[in-house]
Amino acid sequence: MRSKSSTIRTHRAVTTGAALLTGALALTACSGGDSKSGDGGGDGGASASGSTVTLPKLNGASLEVAAVWTGTEQKNFKQVLAEFEKRTGAKVTFVPAQDPIINFLGSKIAGGQPPDVALLPQPGAIRQAVDKKWAKPLGPEAVKELQKNYSQGWQDIGKVDGKQYGVYYKAANKSLIWYNTKAFGNAGAKEPKTWQELLTAAQAVYDSGVTPFSVGGADGWTLTDWFENVYLSQAGPEKYDQLAQHKIKWTDPSVKQALTTLAQVWGKKDYVAGGADGALQTEFPASVTQTFTGGDQPKAAMVYEGDFAQVNIGDTKAKVGTDAKVFPFPAVGSAAPVVSGGDAAVVLKDSKAAQALATWLASPDAATIQAKLGGYLSPNKNVPDSAYPNEVQRKIAKALIASGDDFRFDMSDQAPQAFGGTPGKGEWKDLQDFLKNPKDVAGAQAKLEKDAAAAYGNGG
C-alpha cells in the first residue's frame, strides 16, 4: 500500500546526453565532496568479525538519509543505520520525507541542503533524479558489493543509461494471493500452483458457500496488479517490457488473451465478493480485512495483493501464518509471475561516507538486520532464509529471489502517471470498466490503447 502511495511515476524520462555528462563529471569530481572524514585513507578499517562487507573508517563524518518510512519500518531501518555507525564511526541522521519523495527532495535541493542518500521508489523516480542531475553514480566499492549480492535484474533496474545509480535495498513482492485457511479448509481446497488449479480451488470454495475472491476495485491499482501478473506469466517478460514501454499496442492479441483469462475470475457470477459493483466500491484495505473477518463465513476466501497486505491483515483478528496464509500467484503460462516493487538507495551528495553507506545497504549484513525485525523483504540474494522471522515471510522472500532475473517491476508504475497512476483515469479506469463488464474484452482493449496512446504521446 505504502509502496504504492509513495509512487513517483516516470515523467517520460527523455534520455539526455546531459545526464550522462553530469554522471561522468560527478564521477571525476568524486572523492572531494564535503565529507569531513578525518582519516580518509584506509579502506579495510572496520570490518567486525562475521561481517561480509568491508567499510572504511569514517570517524567524524556525518550523513543524512531521507526515506518516506514511518513507524516500525523507520525504527527498524534506524537499527540498520546504527550498525553502520558502529562499524564506521560515522554519524547518520534519518530524515523523514513526505510523499512524493521526489518533490520533497526538490525542495531540499532548492534549499541547498539535499540529504546525502535518499531511498526512491520505482525506476522512474531514479531516472527523474538523474535527469534533474541530483543523483550521483555509485562508486566502485558499492558497485562491487552490488554485483556480489544482487541478480542482474535487480542491478539493471538501478541503472540509468548503463550507469549504476540505485541500490535496491527493499523489495515488495506483488505476486501473492492471501487466503483464509478456514475457508480453504472447509472447502477442502489446496494451494494452487497453476491458473487451472486456482480455478479449481475457487470452484471448491464457491461450492462450500463462500465467495472465492475479494477484489479492491475502488483502487484501480489492485486491478492493474492483477492484470500484470496474468500478463507477465502468460505473455512472458519480453512482451511485458514492450507493453510497459508501449512498444506493442494494447490491442495486441497477448493482451486479449490476458484479459480473457482474467475474465475467468472477474466475470464469473458470484466469484467476486459483492459482485462487480460491490468490488468497485471496495478499497484495498477493506478488500483484505473482509477476507479475514467473519469466522467460518468470510466475505471472500482469497485476496490478491503484495506482501504489504500483511499490514491490513494485522487490523483483523486473523494471524498471519495460521489464519491467513499465502501462496505465490499461480503460473498462467509456463512460469509463475513475480511482479515487484522496491525502494532504491541513491546517492545525492557524493562523498566517501555516502558511498560507504550505499555499499553497506547493498550488503547482506544490513539486509539481514532488518529482515530479522520483520515486515521487510530484501532483493539481496545472499540474505539467508533463516533471517526472516516467520514461515510466511520466508516463503515470500524465496519466491522473490527464485525468480532470478525474470521478475518485473510493476508495469503501471513504469507508465506515465496519466495512464498508470491516476484514480478514475487511464489504465485504472479502463480496468475498472472491464471488471464491471468482463465480456467486452475488445472494448476494454480499445479504451486502454486510446488512453495509453494519449498518455505516452504527450509530455516529456
Binding site: A187, D207, S208, D219, G220, Q297, T422, G424, K425, G460
Partner: protein, 426 residues
C-alpha cells in the same frame, strides 16, 4: 488634491495594493500566462490548452457535472433553507432546531466528505443510506433461503430461468436426488436436518434435495447424502409437464419430498423463488448516482447556512404586511407565496449567488466521497484542475481550467457587485 495628499493617500493604499497584487493579481496573471504554455512551461502553446479543455472527455464530463451542481445544489439548499426558516419561525423550539440544522456548517468539508463516504457505503451493515433502504425493501420483499445454491459436478440439474430443472423426467417409484452446493452452513435454514435418501413409494414420486457438500471434504459421495450433509428444508419443488406445473411440494427438514402420481413423467424444477439474491441496496456511489449523492451531502452542509441568512431576512419583514394579507383573506400558502417570498427576494438572491460561487469551486467533497472507480463520473472542474496540475503533470491545461473557472465566476461576481451597489444607493 495636493501632491502631499496624493502621496499620503498612496502611502496608505500601498500595503493593501502590494498584498492584493502579490496574492491575487499576480497569481491570476501568471495563471493566464501559464495557460498559454505547454506542459514543460517552455514552449508557447497558444490556445491549444483551451482547445484541449473542450475536447477532452474527462473535462467535458466535469463541465457537465459543474452545470448540474450549479443548477441544483444552490437551488435545493436555498429552497430547504427557506422552508426551514419559515417553519422554525412558528415553532417554539425554533432556535434549537436552527442550531441543529446549522450544526453541519461547523464541520469541515473534508470531515463531511469522510462522513458521507460512510453514509453511502454499499454494505448495508456500514452505510446508513443503504441500511435504511434495504430495511424498507426487505419488509416488502424478503430474500430467499438459498441465494447462491448451484449444481455441483455431474449434477442431474441444469439451470433454467434462475432456477434449476432436472435433465430427465421422473418416474413414480424411483427416488429422485436433487443435490446442489454453495449454501454456506450458517445460512442454512435453522431447522435443516441431516439429509436422508428418500425411500421409494409405489405410485408416488419421492426424492431428496440437499446440500451435497461435506465440510473439508468437498462433495463427499457425489449425488448421495453423506452423514453430515443437510437437507434443504423448505425448498420448493415443482413438477413441470409441457410447460405447466402439475404438482408441487416443499422439502421437509431432512430434504425429502413427496409428489403425487400426477407428476409421473414430469421434469422437476426448483423454481427461481428459492434462489433470489438478497437485496443489496442502491449503488449510491456508482456512476449514475454519484453526483446527486454528493450534492445531497453538500445540501446537508449548506442548507443550514441558507436557513440562517434567510431567517435573518425574515426577521426584517414587516409583520403588518403579513397580517394585512391574512386579514384580507389570504391563506397561509398565499401569504408565503405572494408576500413573504417576494419580500425575501433580495436575500434569496444573495444566498443563491453566494452558494453558486461556492459550488463552482467545489472540490473536497467530490474528491473524498467518490470512490476511485467513479471519480471520473463525479468529476468537476476544480477536481480536474487538481488532477491535471498535480497528478498528471500538465500545469498548462490545469491553468487553462483555472482561467476558465475564473471566467465562469466573473458574471456571478458582477451580479453580486451590482446588487451591492444598488443596495448602498438605496
Amino acid at each position: 488634491m495636493t501632491g502631499t495628499r496624493k502621496a499620503v493617500a498612496a502611502l496608505f493604499l500601498l500595503p493593501a495594493l502590494v498584498l492584493l497584487g502579490a496574492l491575487v493579481v499576480y497569481p491570476i496573471g501568471y495563471s493566464i500566462v501559464r495557460s498559454l504554455y505547454d506542459a514543460n512551461g517552455d514552449g508557447f502553446a497558444g490556445i491549444d490548452n483551451y482547445k484541449a479543455i473542450f475536447t477532452d472527455d474527462g473535462i467535458r464530463t466535469a463541465l457537465k457535472n459543474n452545470v448540474i451542481w450549479v443548477v441544483f445544489a444552490p437551488a435545493v439548499s436555498t429552497a430547504l433553507g427557506l422552508v426551514f426558516a419559515v417553519l422554525t419561525e412558528r415553532v417554539r423550539w425554533g432556535t434549537a432546531f436552527k442550531l441543529v440544522v446549522f450544526m453541519p456548517m461547523a464541520i469541515s468539508m473534508l470531515a463531511a466528505g469522510i462522513i458521507f463516504r460512510l453514509v453511502y457505503d454499499q454494505d448495508p451493515d456500514k452505510g446508513v443510506a443503504n441500511a435504511v433502504w434495504v430495511g424498507v425493501h426487505d419488509t416488502f420483499a424478503s430474500s430467499s433461503a438459498f441465494p447462491r445454491a448451484h449444481p455441483g459436478r455431474e449434477s442431474p440439474l441444469v439451470p433454467q430461468g434462475g432456477g434449476f430443472l432436472t435433465r430427465s423426467a421422473v418416474r413414480a417409484g424411483q427416488p429422485v436426488a436433487l443435490p446442489l452446493v454453495g449454501v454456506a452452513p450458517d445460512q442454512m435454514p435453522g431447522d435443516a436436518e441431516r439429509a436422508v435418501a428418500a425411500k421409494a413409494e409405489p405410485g408416488r414420486i419421492t426424492g431428496t434435495t440437499w446440500q451435497d457438500f461435506t465440510r473439508g471434504k468437498g462433495v463427499g459421495r457425489l449425488g448421495a447424502p453423506d452423514p453430515s450433509e443437510l437437507g434443504y428444508a423448505g425448498m420448493r419443488i415443482e413438477a413441470v409437464k409441457g410447460g405447466t406445473v402439475v404438482a408441487s411440494a416443499e422439502a421437509a427438514a431432512d430434504g425429502t419430498f413427496t409428489l403425487p402420481a400426477a407428476a409421473d413423467g414430469a421434469r422437476l424444477r426448483l423454481p427461481a423463488s428459492n434462489f433470489r439474491e438478497p437485496y443489496n441496496g442502491v449503488d449510491w456511489l456508482g456512476p449514475s448516482l454519484v453526483t446527486p449523492a454528493i450534492i445531497g451531502s453538500y445540501v446537508w452542509m449548506w442548507a443550514g447556512f441558507a436557513m440562517v441568512l434567510i431567517a435573518a431576512g425574515l426577521a426584517g419583514v414587516p409583520r403588518e404586511l403579513l397580517e394585512a394579507a391574512r386579514v384580507d383573506g389570504a391563506n397561509e400558502w398565499q401569504v408565503f407565496r405572494k408576500v413573504t417570498v417576494p419580500l425575501l427576494a433580495p436575500v434569496l438572491a444573495v444566498v443563491v449567488v453566494t452558494l453558486m460561487i461556492n459550488v463552482l469551486k467545489v472540490f473536497d467533497l467530490v474528491y473524498i466521497i467518490a470512490p476511485g472507480s467513479s471519480q471520473d463520473d463525479a468529476n468537476v472542474l476544480a477536481l480536474e484542475l487538481y488532477r491535471k496540475g498535480f497528478a498528471e503533470g500538465q500545469p498548462g491545461i490545469a491553468s487553462a481550467i483555472a482561467v476558465f473557472l475564473l471566467l465562469l465566476v466573473i458574471p456571478v461576481m458582477l451580479f453580486n457587485i451590482r446588487r451591492l451597489r444598488r443596495e448602498v444607493r438605496r
